[in-house]
Symmetry: C2
Subunit: 354 residues, 2 copies
Amino acid sequence: VDPSDGKILPLILCGGSGERLWPLSRDDRPKQFLQLTGERTMLKLALERVSDRTQFAPPMIIANGKHQSELEAQLKEAGADAAGLILEPAVRNTAPAIALAALAVRAETTLLVMPSDHVIEDPDAFLAAVDAALPALKDNYLVTFGISPNAPETGYGYIKCGAALSEGVFRVERFVEKPNLETAAGYLTEGSYVWNAGIFLFRAGDFMAALAEHAPEVAAASRDSLVNATRDGSVIRPDAEAFARSPSVSVDYAVMEKHAKVAVVPMDVGWSDIGSWDALYDHVTPGPDRNVCAGDGIQIDTKGCLIRSEGPLIATIGVTDLIILATKDSVLIAQRGSSQRVKEVVAALKKRAE
Amino acid sequence: VDPSDGKILPLILCGGSGERLWPLSRDDRPKQFLQLTGERTMLKLALERVSDRTQFAPPMIIANGKHQSELEAQLKEAGADAAGLILEPAVRNTAPAIALAALAVRAETTLLVMPSDHVIEDPDAFLAAVDAALPALKDNYLVTFGISPNAPETGYGYIKCGAALSEGVFRVERFVEKPNLETAAGYLTEGSYVWNAGIFLFRAGDFMAALAEHAPEVAAASRDSLVNATRDGSVIRPDAEAFARSPSVSVDYAVMEKHAKVAVVPMDVGWSDIGSWDALYDHVTPGPDRNVCAGDGIQIDTKGCLIRSEGPLIATIGVTDLIILATKDSVLIAQRGSSQRVKEVVAALKKRAE
């Protein structure tokens, strides 16, 4: 089967379990299903980004089986057509997930691999970057998109751009792990480093060839799993036993960092992975008194706060630079700048539940 | 009827509507019904203070009719016997309320009038102060109890102690309104000023005589209201129409500040009216990291906070000196020192509801 009809086939990775936005994100409703930056959920924003059917085929979506109903509900709400829905039988990181999709289409299909839980404020600039990347595919390159950094972030991996291959496309000189602040500041000054955003463009066959070369166990397990998949209309349930044999490994580690023909297209598109409540505050434009508010609230002498309720009224008096989230069963209050430590709360809750 | 049997008859004022401890205190469950300082509610602590039946008769309680069921439930839980329950048909401040009780007993009955929503950490010292006050009643004095100040509080009225009448009992030189900080600091240094805590001891007849002299409309309205009351066992429902004719006025303003024979007994008894969340924090002994916590919570790098939940989990990260309260429907986050402004939240909510 190849639903691409010669167009670019978007592959939306929807399997994240995101705990960093607790208490809003939960196991049963991770970040991609949340409405964080405006009226639409992160998933709906991703679908909309590739909704021009003259350029893109209906997307394939790969997700965790337990999110099927939420996913289908959001697709319906968005009025989105999907070419296929692959429900992963286990969590095995991005390399096996992408392999399942790459194997489900013809080798010459062009796949645009995108996380479902990032925001891109300038979709036109993103589409221009995709256009710029296309020529490199003729030379069998695997292309990654890099975000032009605007701050010395220590939470992302970086990619050093090498020699130019074509207008806006560079050979990847090297991938670098999350740097410390000093190193990150150096990258920012140096100018040829971009953030690794986990967005890729390649032909399915080129990807599978690279995977077979650099991570043959992943390729084999994914192939076996897909061959023995159960299909129900456009829903594909890969074989669990075979899939479980795959190493759990990221596409960066399995393929991109090792392959000879990897290119990068730097782009400045208003990207954020909204990886924490601090990141959300920094990404959106605050209102009066630098507050970012959603839900029922009363603010008295309140400044620089992110306040968001999914139910209870939140009243604040005389507070500054706080992150405040409330759901029906939980409340988070964190000083701005400390929201990375939400994972400690989630860990404590898991320990409790044991 | 006189249920006092020659003993002191406690009169517990339970009509407060306390909004200053929102979101825990509400119209239907004001401060006196809340468990703020330990395992017992403020009302139960007040009942316990006068539970020695060799000295005190079973108390009379005066409350707002809408709190009858909550009140009766707490009396039952406390295993407390009450001589009578007067349900006010309207809110008319303390002078008419006390008059209803004073008229319901014999003129020679000694009444100990106490708010139901204060805490007294040293009940023995309080009982000693009551003992000290008794001789003044023989000379028909109305006695008020004054709290020895430990800080230049601007939220209380003060009483200046005059000449000694007997051991520990002084003639009241004057009542003074809530002072500014400078004046309050002067009072503290001067040493003869005490806080007006709204606790009184007098014979019912002496009080009614003073009321008739200084506030005859209050005395008349209360008398008419009680004469036409409906009685159901020990529950007295004064006539609403007559009671409504009474001016709404405090016992201080109506009687104490005007009467010639008013005495004061200073006492150092660990008193607090818990008039705000800040006052509660200041009154209790904090735990590790100066936090005062109750209910479900996870604290990470959290210092000097009052955190209390009636349901939701409250997780805090990297915050200092906050007051955090959560109920099923509301969350309050206030910087410590700003909790007096809770009334602005309550006012905003009332405006909304209009």
